[in-house]
């Protein structure tokens, strides 16, 4: 399944993601990592839960409001439901042990030049590439 190369939209969206990380650090002194945010849902008694849930709510509400106003975001999931669910379980286990994902390690951590985040990001980028290559092209590449 081909997708359109969108350098300008992707760069602009990326700048917004970085800006969100800077705003959360400037005001709340916190890392904008999605793995930690989801912890707010799973531990509603935690003192950080309210602002984490607020971040999640904003993250869902923004594209939802945009679609109500007529915006369209291209979307396609090239897998079956069962495979998507399997991937979800693996992602959940992985980010919990890694204490972070693309946002926490890949953006916020590397931006601080954290060695842990650089190792984490290099590792998951490599295994994602390997997984996609094996699924799509087999072991022969």
């Amino acid at each position: 399944m081909t997708t359109t190369f969108t350098p300008y939209a992707s760069l602009f969206g990326g700048v917004l993601i970085g800006l969100a990380a800077v705003i959360l650090m400037a005001f709340n002194g916190r890392i904008a990592g999605m793995t930690a945010m989801l912890g707010g849902l799973l531990e509603p008694q935690h003192p950080d839960a309210p602002w984490r849930i607020a971040f999640l709510a904003g993250a869902i509400a923004a594209p939802f409001a945009a679609t109500l106003l007529g915006a369209e975001f291209s979307f396609a999931s090239p897998t079956t439901g069962a495979v998507l669910a399997l991937g979800g379980v693996i992602v959940g286990v992985g980010v919990t042990y890694a204490s972070g994902c693309t946002s926490g390690h890949g953006v916020c951590g590397i931006a601080r030049l954290s060695p842990r985040s650089i190792v984490a990001t290099a590792t998951f980028m490599a295994t994602t590439f390997a997984t996609v290559t094996i699924i799509r092209h087999g072991f022969g590449g």
């Binding site: 990380a21 984490r52 090239p78 204490s99 060695p115 799509r136």
Partner: protein, 144 residues
């Protein structure tokens, strides 16, 4: 209350950024990792834009302020060790990302514009997080 509003604002900008960038579209994300097939290099522009902005912003911020506006200190991660948990967890996360095309930060905003099948992924991911937390809470045994 003000901390909740600033987090809501940051989350809103984050969600807009994910939706506009294409990080919430599994087909697009998977194509980034397929240079030998239907390659779409867009993800490099997302990561580049996010990283440059965050690195520059953090640098300005930490250079000018000792504390954030709404808290008494910057809560920066204190863990320093590069261990099997970090590397193994990251490796596993990448495998799941390569299977599903969703990372957590991409999937949460996608719920706002493609509720199905995003909800299925998020529920499964929540199950994975709870399972891993349960494993981590078990009495310590030497596994490796």
């Amino acid at each position: 209350m003000k901390r909740i509003l600033s987090a809501l604002a940051a989350g809103t900008i984050f969600g807009a950024g994910i939706a506009i960038s294409g990080m919430g579209n599994p087909a697009k994300v998977l194509n980034f990792f397929d240079p030998f097939g239907t390659w779409d290099p867009s993800l490099a522009f997302v990561m580049g834009g996010a990283l440059l902005t965050a690195a520059l912003g953090y640098r300005l911020l930490f250079g000018r302020r000792q504390t954030p506006l709404f808290d008494t200190k910057f809560h920066l991660p204190t863990a320093r060790t590069i261990d099997a948990k970090l590397v193994g967890g990251s490796a596993l996360f990448g495998i799941g990302w390569g299977i599903a095309g969703f990372c957590p930060g991409g999937a949460v905003p996608a719920l706002g514009f493609a509720p199905w099948p995003t909800a299925l992924f998020l529920i499964a991911m929540g199950g994975g997080i709870l399972f891993a937390r349960w494993l981590q809470a078990l009495p310590r045994r030497q596994i490796a």
